[in-house]
Symmetry: C2
DNA sequence: CAGAGAACGAGACCGAGTCTCACTCTTGTC
DNA sequence: GACAAGAGTGAGACTCGGTCTCGTTCTCTG
């Protein structure tokens, strides 16, 4: 049941992303299609290198996806707010689906031990960041919270 | 007056940092001394490259400071919690003084327009992050909040 | 179906950060 | 003070995410 929900969510995001790009006047292309499919299957951030590895070893017969196409597509998706770019401090950018039909806005815990990235969401945190912006007089468009510590598995 | 305060704070941090390193059994060395002096004069984050530029053009007669020494020293300072490593998402690590006698723990607003990094601190935010960790059952050692938006100058 | 131009892949290139190694300097000991 | 041990240092080669270029391939429109 959960799997079905996730699958549906994934399909929704992929369809939504494609619709946005087509409406913006973009052609379709093999690299883009496969990258969108890959991202749609994830539930947390994926680094460009992981994406490259996954798409480079294409299935038999498929043309491999070039590195340039991956970065180009990620940039395009990011420009249309279809993807969130995440920096955790290890010098590697990570990307995850975003937008109306994707999972909720969330943040991350980076485990000091195993290096795993654990997503979490918290309404109270969102509220207090909103109030914070008002208090400081900043007009903010986005924010990012990263906790460092021990993930549940490593405690 | 403010200048004097800042100067004192800077001196304090530099002295504190040196004391911590000596107590840990480290020798002194020209590169380290100059890097500590440089950091002590800053009030916000400095990238390794900016540090390298500043120290490479050493004053007449001084031996230039090598890149390896800079990264080594920054790593050492970080290991002793004398410095905070900050990642803003542009692929460049930034460092700023930290510890008992330095400025308070703070976070940053990254301006979408001018790219400036504006430090701020907020006790309510700290409290809500603390409560958040408890609520989620994470044991956190550190956290980082980055807001994106327009800085006061660019509004 | 043909042309325009968007999308693509290979690979050269860039630059922040790491590693190595021979040299220099600080520190403790006599 | 002289000295030895070994911590600290600088030059430069190297790594590896990420960018850029360019000739080719593919998609869409007419």
């Amino acid at each position: 049941m959960l799997a079905t929900m996730l699958a549906d969510t994934a399909t929704d995001w992929a369809a939504y992303a494609r619709a946005v790009l087509v409406r913006a006047g973009h052609h379709r292309g093999a690299a883009r299609e496969r990258l969108i499919d890959l991202l749609a299957r994830q539930n947390c951030a994926l680094s460009a290198i992981e994406i490259e590895d996954a798409l480079r070893r294409g299935r038999r017969g498929q043309r491999p996806v070039g590195r340039a196409s991956i970065y180009r597509t990620l940039e395009l998706l990011h420009a249309h707010d279809l993807v969130i770019r995440l920096d955790v401090g290890d010098g590697v950018a990570r990307y995850e689906p975003a937008g109306p039909t994707s999972e909720h806005h969330h943040h991350h815990l980076l485990c000091d031990h195993c290096g795993r990235l654990v997503p979490f969401e918290d309404a109270a945190l969102e509220r207090s960041i909103e109030k914070l912006s008002d208090r400081l007089g900043f007009r903010t468009t986005d924010h990012e919270v990263t906790l460092r510590g021990d993930c549940p598995d490593c405690r």
